[in-house]
Symmetry: C2
Subunit: 204 residues, 2 copies
């Protein structure tokens, strides 16, 4: 199992390769990738090693083969469904932004507490009451969820999701969720981020 920081950089490398103006085919050196991704060259080599792909001295890495190896690591083998809980400002923003961006990763179900927001189709996606998580999440084989509900509701929602089979959570609510071992969580609290950035922005 690869560690989170490495996975993050691998995703970054793939995107750098795809977005790089140069031809999609041909060779690329670790130090070129390093510049594209904003990391050091030894870091690139070590990370690439981690996925079992090998370049060759002098010619470097083959773009196509490397992209294939990265894809095998990063892309879900089959299309993966994501649940989004909390169709408020942040939730809708993410829904509109994300939908259709990744071929094998799509938001497939929405959940909310508000009766006015449920049993509708929002941006092509059906919305359910949160009580339906236990039924809908397993039936769609959902293992990834986004939480964008107010802080006071987040722990309850997280518990429901985990009980329904979710194994990874992207949390926008401003609290630290208490979850069992083995559930992967990433916190994306906007307020905390801005306070942190404001702190560093005013140092000097």
């Amino acid at each position: 199992m690869i560690n989170p920081k490495v996975i993050e950089r691998l995703i970054l490398y793939r995107r750098s390769l795809l977005m790089d103006g140069e031809a999609r085919s041909g060779q690329i050196y670790s130090h070129e990738m390093a510049v594209l991704a904003g990391v050091s060259a030894p870091q690139v080599r070590r990370d690439v090693m981690a996925i079992g792909y090998s370049g060759s001295p002098i010619t470097g890495y083959d773009r196509q083969a490397l992209l294939r190896a990265l894809g095998e690591m990063i892309d879900p083998p089959e299309p993966e469904s994501v649940a989004l809980v909390g169709v408020g400002d942040i939730g809708r923003g993410i829904l509109h932004y994300f939908q259709g961006r990744r071929p094998r990763l799509a938001i497939a179900a929405l959940f909310d507490k508000d009766p006015d927001k449920v049993n509708r189709v929002i941006h092509g996606c059906r919305s359910y009451p949160v009580e339906e998580i236990a039924r809908v999440v397993p039936s769609l084989k959902i293992r990834v969820a986004i939480i964008s509900v107010p802080g006071f509701a987040a722990q309850d929602v997280a518990d429901r999701l985990v009980n329904a089979g979710v194994r990874g959570i992207l949390n926008y609510a401003p609290i630290r969720l208490k979850l069992p071992e083995g559930i992967y969580i990433e916190n994306r609290d906007v307020i905390l981020s801005l306070e942190k950035i404001a702190y560093f922005a005013r140092q000097t």
Copy 2:
């Protein structure tokens, strides 16, 4: 200067204290704070030490005094203005969500390229064309910015912001910005986050 991980936890501690059901006044132990914030007790003590506040053996920390010390570190001495560039789905979501949540931190100006979105008032906030960054950002003394424009436009926007005096950036665009030393940046790319979470969610 305190390092980013410590600052993040300090912000977390403060929020934990504020949200804790117990009385706002009275004492609290490092191990209680540790539970609230989801970190270890020695970590709490070390972090608290970093801001120069001291508790006392047996009685622990004084909630009020600790909150005051945390606030002095975290809160801007005077109200701080934030710029938001890119009034798309993510940008609007953040604007609606964030506005009014922190007393001394507010989004004060919006920027966009789209002529239909500029020179308007959106959620109580004036919007300008990106060309106006050079004029508006210094005039409002803005040092913190949020970038929520498409990837291809992000580097240009970032350069404009930095030239106009911005020192900290919260970046939602899916690229790694190249910035001069001393500019603090935090990347919050939704697609990358979801790919990462999906990877760990499917490792059984």
